[in-house]
């Protein structure tokens, strides 16, 4: 028992509560991208004194819509509550027909983002994105794509690729996996034709030569990445799987400005930059009206492609 008390004191000394602070909702299980973003924000806010004892709370489920719904209903007008979200949430809100949408919270800023990458196992006969597209056109069913959850960024990207190659998007053979690890294992184990996910998920494998990178969904070629963009391959597909932070609904203009300023202070700090480089995330900070406009155009485009795939009617 003595050790327990000692340990408790020890932990307590390290985690003393201080001033009123942000509570960051990560609408996903521990370990995923949103959870990591939330915990990175927590660390930076603590280190920079923006919010000395910021807390993270996980409310997992349904592509973030459960967390979003809970957040919007419980924090109306609360300037200390933040929620992390992202592009996947846009799709999930549409497929789940969620009653709470991003209009019901106060989006603050896009923080980081990743581009999609299309890979095949090293042993695959497919050498280039052109080979893959040829096979897709000849027999869409024979190309099985392993990627993340149904209706998520990966699935949407495949739908866009099919559309751009004039293949009926409802005929794609998309195999959804719940976690990045599982999808990657299926690709490495040569269980599927191709894999699609954020570039970061594949980077180490590409470097080791176990996966072949065919293309990325970036608008411009990415420095140090030896593959064409889909655009360069003649497909009009650009997709960024971004992550953002939003505040509670019904904030006054001053409150919103305060939150925006805090987030900006966080993003411009050295420790945030260190977090980004540690985790291999790109800094795609975008705030204010530009972010609102981008959000709106993403929602419209996503709605269209989900209808094409047949996930929403």
């Amino acid at each position: 028992m003595k050790t327990f008390i000692l340990a408790s004191l020890f932990a307590g000394a390290m985690a003393l509560p201080a001033a009123a602070d942000y509570t960051i909702i990560a609408p996903a299980n521990p370990g995923g991208g949103w959870d990591q973003t939330a915990r990175a924000m927590q660390t930076v806010m603590q280190e920079e004194g923006i919010s000395p004892s910021a807390q993270v709370q996980n409310v997992p489920g349904a592509g973030g819509t459960i967390g979003l719904a809970q957040f919007a209903s419980q924090n109306r007008g609360n300037p200390d509550a933040l929620i992390v979200g992202g592009y996947v949430m846009v799709g999930a809100i549409l497929t789940n027909n969620s009653p709470v949408t991003l209009q019901d919270v106060t989006p603050i800023a896009r923080l980081t983002g990743e581009y999609e990458a299309i890979v095949v196992p090293a042993a695959s006969p497919i050498q280039s994105i052109e080979d893959l597209i040829e096979q897709l056109k000849a027999d869409p069913g024979s190309v099985s794509w392993a990627g993340g959850s149904a209706g998520g960024a990966d699935h949407i990207a495949v739908g866009l690729i099919a559309k751009a190659t004039e293949v009926d998007p409802t005929t794609i053979n998309y195999i959804a996996y719940s976690g990045g690890g599982e999808a990657l294992a299926a690709i490495l184990g040569n269980q599927v034709t191709a894999g699609i996910s954020s570039l970061g998920e594949f980077e180490a494998q590409i470097e080791a030569g176990t996966l072949r990178l065919l293309a990325t969904s970036a608008p411009e070629p990415i420095e140090g990445v030896d593959a064409p963009t889909l655009k360069e391959a003649g497909l009009d597909v650009v997709l960024e799987n971004w992550r953002m932070v939003a505040a509670a609904p019904d904030l006054t203009d001053e409150q919103k400005a305060k939150v925006s300023a805090d987030i900006e202070a966080m993003v411009t700090s050295d420790s945030w930059q260190k977090q980004l480089s540690d985790k291999g995330w790109a800094d795609t900070y975008l705030a204010g009206e530009e972010f609102d406009a981008q959000l709106e155009s993403d929602i419209t485009a996503t709605d269209a492609v989900l209808r094409d795939i047949g996930l929403i009617k």
């Binding site: 050790t3 327990f4 000692l6 340990a7 408790s8 020890f10 932990a11 390290m14 985690a15 299980n29 521990p30 370990g31 995923g32 959870d35 990591q36 915990r39 927590q42 660390t43 709370q57 996980n58 409310v59 997992p60 489920g61 349904a62 819509t65 459960i66 719904a69 999930a92 497929t95 789940n96 969620s98 009653p99 099985s144 959850s149 149904a150 053979n173 195999i175 959804a176 719940s178 976690g179 990045g180 690890g181 599982e182 990657l184 294992a185 299926a186 490495l188 184990g189 269980q191 599927v192 980077e203 180490a204 494998q205 470097e207 080791a208 176990t210 540690d278 985790k279 291999g280 996930l311």
Partner: protein
Amino acid sequence: MDAYSFLLQGLVTASDPMMLFYALIGVTLGTAVGVLPGIGPALTVALLLPVTYRLDPAGSLIMFAGIYYGGMYGGSTTSILLNTPGESASIITALEGNKMARKGRGGPALATAAIGSFIAGLIATLLLAFLAPWIVKIALVFGPREYFALMVLAFVTVSAAFGDSALRGLTSLFLGLALACIGIDQLTGQARLSFGVPDLLDGIEVTTMAVAMFAVGEALYIAGQGMQHDDQVTAVKGSVWMNRLDWMRSWKPWLRGTAIGFPIGAMPAGGAEIGTFLSYAAEKKLTRHPEEFGEGAIEGVAGPEAANNASAAGTLVPLLTLGLPTSATAAIMLAGFQQFGLQPGPLLFATNPTLVWGLIASLLIANAMLLVLNLPLIGLWVKLLTIPRHWLYAGILLFATLGTIGANPSSFELGMLLAFGVLGYVMRLFGYPIAPIVVGLILGPMAEQQLRRALSISQGDWTTLVQSPIAAVLLGLAALAFIVPLIMRARGKGEMLSQMAGDED
């Protein structure tokens, strides 16, 4: 430097007194949070990870390893003593472990769990250290059809271990499968059986269900029996320590559990629960004391606990060799590694040997520390059962709900806890076994998804399921496990088995 010298160097670093102290704190904190029902190692590590940020890399790594092992062992303690499994991988432990505890054999049950975990952890960590690159090659051969075959095998072998009535066992199993359908279908994003309730979209949380079925259902059942059953629980009978017979009956299950758990943990979609299910089924099949199963057989604790720990080390195989986080816990560990600027991936062993071997050494030390901390505490733990019944059950429900609230502070989750608690009570009353419903909830979605993935890849060709040699062998084993008991029963040879088939015939 070769692997041995790296490992030795890591061990030397980790045996510094200050490092041992960090390991002790990690194990204690991990156990303290891990004992909460519903809070498994993943959440434990996520919650406590920030604590480790404040230490230097070596200290952080070892504390982290301690938290990880502590979080895992904590779940077993409550399973055995209070019949409230802390996480899905210790559900099976509750079956026999709690029966033992009620007969005054909580000490040996905890000891065999602790020592079994230690031995399994030790062997599995060493296997991880020296065989990881080879094991992972085998694990990657497992695709959807092989996983589906493995699930079928798990279903068949585990159902054979379910109670005395085929009707009630199957009903319980299918209730679990029905509950498993609730929520968003992984493969198409369609909401099933959620009736527009957003809280149902993510399906039924396995731990909430297990805690409700075991802890709440049982509290209601015992309370309903009124005062006449006062003497059911004996806190300590005989020694709190394992006797010679316990050792004799435990060591083989430990080794078998390790052998089952480690490879399944190494498979990217294996999951620790399946290892515990298969280990339990294997022990039940092989034991010389079949009559004790369901009444508190020590093999039924020793095997699954070893399998659970071995599979945790197995999870590290794809993580360290490929950078694949194949469980929630592994995903958190990945986040933990990143604070040292370490990117797990195929080149990790080559580019970052010091840290990798440091981690492996830390795991070994933390594993030993857990044993050192817990064996002396067993005497204290079993005293918990001497608490008067009204306080004991009030405390159990306090902790059961605390775990549920801590994992997800929503009234809806507590409502589920209550509803499933009542269901568990009614099922107990009518003699339905509890384990199959939980097994159905866990295995159902896995089997369904893997089958549909396999058929998608083959474009609807069912013969794909037997075209891979591994899948064919696993399905063959499952068929044998299903048919042989039927034949034996038909010949009237298996008295025990026909008894198991129950009072229907």
